[in-house]
């Protein structure tokens, strides 16, 4: 046993010595998102030509496969030099609380990131004032998509509040639209849930909910669950069989009027469906969330015990830089987390999102890991499924509260 350890140690020493200037980055960006990551790596290589970059991607399942592989690597004591994680509690609740990440406060100070990233964002990626990861991109979760031509034909407009939405819903049902709202498989329903919650409770209560200051069993939250139930009554019944793309298709073909989905849908509409923004597809903030930007972000952190720490720090510097963010985001279809990005490089939708990013109140998304840890998000899917079947708000709220206690959000 001792011999084997010695041998392993010797091997580790020789490999790190021979490959001075090596960097391994771990992500789930492949396929459509591959070129965006390549652009970042290219930028890094221009700055640090002597470093060999090992781009370790584990594709599939919106990162679920990658996260499983990452866990085995971290537990096995061979962390990658830097890895992708959804910014916020998904990283904090899993890796920071376990004491396996390095505090990036000094990096944020030396690069002046405290000033260029919005305050609300820095708060979301920090605990006790210590930031744990560098956000690369920003997506918006609370966007309602529609087909402008169809809305005109039906004679309705995009509703501004959830009660107004329910009115529009019954108008559309009277006109023979069986399902005015389209949702897809479980996570898209959770996605809708968070927009209904924020739109009903307001962004301040949403923040309190995740800070443990507002209980899920509070009458306000139970009431918002009831609203969510009414909203789901407007939705299609075959939801769990649809991917988010299939749900978006139903907006285009006019089967349904509205869909609440993150702004990656804009990329799907323009690139895959070849539709023009504002004419082929339209968007508005989800009802009740007009001045709120519900964000999710991908970020990279620095695990303790990274073999090439210096190179990883340089990588994080590139990620946070203006050049890095403006190289990555136009290709990924997201906006920069920095507020000083060069908007001429972005498309029509992204320009409008970037304007909101600067002016709106920023809160974090639950289903995409910004405000809730994986232990909450993953089990919350079952609560939503049970609620959609039973429509029992009190029971769902009580279950969510128990889950929040178990996940350490609430007491």
């Amino acid at each position: 046993m001792k011999k084997a350890l010695l041998l392993a140690a010797a091997l580790a020493v020789t490999t790190s010595a021979s490959a001075a200037g090596k960097l391994e980055i771990f992500s789930w960006w492949s396929g459509d998102e591959g070129p965006a990551l390549e652009a970042l790596i290219k930028l890094y290589k221009q700055k640090y030509p002597s470093v060999t970059v090992d781009n370790a991607t584990v594709s599939g399942g919106a990162g679920t496969n990658a996260k499983a592989v990452l866990k085995t690597r971290m537990l096995g004591g061979t962390p990658p030099d830097s890895f992708q994680a959804h910014a916020g509690q998904e990283l904090i609740g899993t890796w920071v609380v376990a004491g396996r990440m390095e505090d990036l406060s000094s990096l944020f100070k030396s690069e002046g990131w405290d000033k260029v990233f919005p305050k609300d964002l820095v708060k979301l990626i920090s605990t006790n004032g210590k930031p744990w990861s560098v956000p690369v991109n920003v997506h918006r979760s609370n966007v309602m998509w529609y087909n402008p031509a169809k809305l005109k034909a039906w004679g309705v407009t995009a509703p501004k509040t959830w009660p107004e939405f329910l009115k529009t819903c019954s108008t559309l049902k009277a006109k023979g639209v069986a399902a005015p709202l389209v949702v897809g498989e479980n996570w898209t329903q959770q996605h809708l849930w968070e927009s209904v919650m924020i739109g009903t409770l307001g962004s301040a209560n949403w923040e309190n909910l995740w800070a443990g200051k507002l209980k899920f069993t509070d009458p306000k939250v139970v009431g918002a669950f009831t609203t969510f139930g009414k909203v789901m009554d407007c939705a299609n019944k075959d939801a769990s069989g649809l991917s988010w793309q299939q749900a978006s298709d139903r907006i285009i073909d006019g089967t349904s009027a509205f869909n609440v989905m993150g702004d990656w849908a804009a990329g799907y509409f323009t690139t895959t469906k070849k539709l023009a923004p504002n004419t082929g597809f339209g968007w508005a903030p989800a009802p009740g969330t007009t001045k709120t930007f519900v964000m999710l972000a991908d970020s990279f952190g620095l695990p303790k015990g990274a073999k090439d720490r210096a190179e990883a720090l340089n990588w994080l510097k590139v990620l946070g830089s203006k050049a890095g963010q403006d190289a990555f985001n136009p290709l990924k279809g997201s906006i920069a987390a920095r507020t000083d990005s060069d908007l001429s490089k972005y498309n029509t939708y992204s320009k409008s999102a970037a304007a909101d990013w600067k002016s709106n109140k920023i809160v974090g998304s639950m289903v995409h890991g910004a405000v809730a840890p994986e232990s909450f998000t993953s089990a919350f899917g079952a609560i939503i499924d049970q609620f959609v079947a039973s429509k029992n708000s009190a029971a769902a709220a009580a279950a969510a509260q128990q889950l929040a206690v178990r996940a350490g959000i609430s007491k």
Binding site: A98, R100, E185, D238, E374, A379, D385, Q386, Q402, A407
Partner: protein
């Protein structure tokens, strides 16, 4: 030293590596999982993935949580689902497999070709089967469009996304139901024993049944596992998955039955015919009894496949669909997404016990017959 002949030494030397490997990688890991299932590893997120996690022994707390915890309704539904799935999957495979074997046994034209065709689905992986059937069972496509071929309107059955269920029962009544079923079986055993004149057996079985019923009448109704009634039943969304699984595995049962049918000597059939049995009678009294051991092995093989099923459900309905979910899927999500390793290990242990219920009696009976032969 006579016992340790060269032959014996050789056999020990050859067997040792595999014994050690199995001891470590099978039984060692089973023991480790069972131990982990009795700790609180992962219940506190901060300890789940820490370098030196503090892990406390908590006994059966995780099991108690799974069966009576407010948040674990998903697991209980999965347990019910898996029982229904196993039942219909085995019945479907046995029925279809036997039917196909009986047809092929009559030596139709191109028998070899048919045999290959029916056996072929088994060569696919469950992921491939699942993907194909997911397409076929789409709400607006595939199977639902089939009626239009005959001019009928398309079907609207929500194969995999249905949220309806039948045969619902309250989980609180589970101890009562179990006691009644076991009691009933004991009564049947007692009656049988009485008929064959086995007095001690009659008394023991009858006594146990009486005790169980007494318990069910007096204590059972007052037991409350959960604060509120919780209904579980057979979800319609499972039907599609059962169809896909039967499609894949019925060819295998057909092959088993065909081998069994071919193994029945022609003389027996002729003798039955000479004794005046018609076709029906011959199958009922001669052939089916001879196929019973094959049915048993098929049930064992299918039973453990269906209890452990994961990939088919994952491919067909995704991981986050509680109406089609099964315990193996939950085990994966609980351990590797929610980082609740102890709870995941507890689910795994329950699965192991379920599979053991199927496998162990079979193995022990096999072992006994082999000993008998030797």
């Amino acid at each position: 030293m006579k016992g340790l002949s060269k032959d014996r030494l050789w056999s020990i030397a050859v067997l040792t590596p595999s014994i050690i490997l199995i001891a470590v990688f099978v039984y060692g890991f089973i023991a480790r999982s069972v131990y982990v299932s009795m700790t609180d590893w992962g219940n506190d997120p901060a300890q789940a993935l820490a370098l030196n996690p503090i892990i406390r022994f908590t006994g059966f707390a995780n099991y108690q949580d799974l069966f009576t915890g407010f948040l674990q309704g998903r697991f209980r539904q999965e347990l019910v689902s898996t029982i229904f799935f196993t039942l219909f999957f085995i019945l479907g495979c046995l029925g279809l497999g036997l039917g196909l074997a009986l047809i092929l046994d009559r030596n139709p034209r191109g028998e070899g070709l048919w045999r290959t065709i029916f056996l072929f689905p088994m060569s696919l992986s469950f992921i491939v089967t699942g993907t194909i059937w997911r397409w076929m069972l789409q709400p607006q496509g595939g199977l639902n469009q089939a009626p239009t071929l005959f001019g009928a309107p398309p079907s609207t059955f929500a194969w995999l996304s249905s949220t309806d269920a039948i045969w619902k029962f309250d989980w609180n009544k589970l101890p009562l139901l179990t006691a009644s079923v076991v009691g009933f079986v004991l009564v049947v055993m007692a009656v049988r024993a009485a008929r064959s004149g086995d007095r001690t057996r009659t008394l023991v079985a009858g006594g146990c049944a009486a005790l169980l019923f007494l318990w069910a009448l007096i204590i059972g109704p007052n037991i409350k596992m959960l604060p509120a009634p919780e209904l579980h039943g057979f979800n319609f969304a499972l039907i599609g998955i059962i169809i896909a699984a039967v499609w894949q595995m019925s060819g295998y049962t057909m092959a088993l039955y065909l081998a069994g049918l071919r193994g029945i000597p022609e003389e027996l059939r002729e003798a039955a015919k000479v004794d005046g049995a018609n076709d029906l009678g011959m199958y009922q009294h001669v052939i089916f009894p001879l196929l019973a051991p094959i049915t048993l092995s098929a049930m064992i093989v299918l039973g453990h496949i269906s209890l452990k099923i994961f990939d088919l459900v994952y491919a067909m309905a995704g991981p986050d669909n509680i109406n089609t979910s099964v315990p193996a899927l939950n085990m994966y999500l609980t351990s590797f997404r929610q980082n609740q390793f102890a709870l995941g290990a507890a689910i795994g242990t329950i699965l192991l016990i379920l599979v053991a219920f199927v496998i162990v009696p079979y193995l022990s009976s096999q072992f006994r017959t082999e000993e008998g032969h030797a």
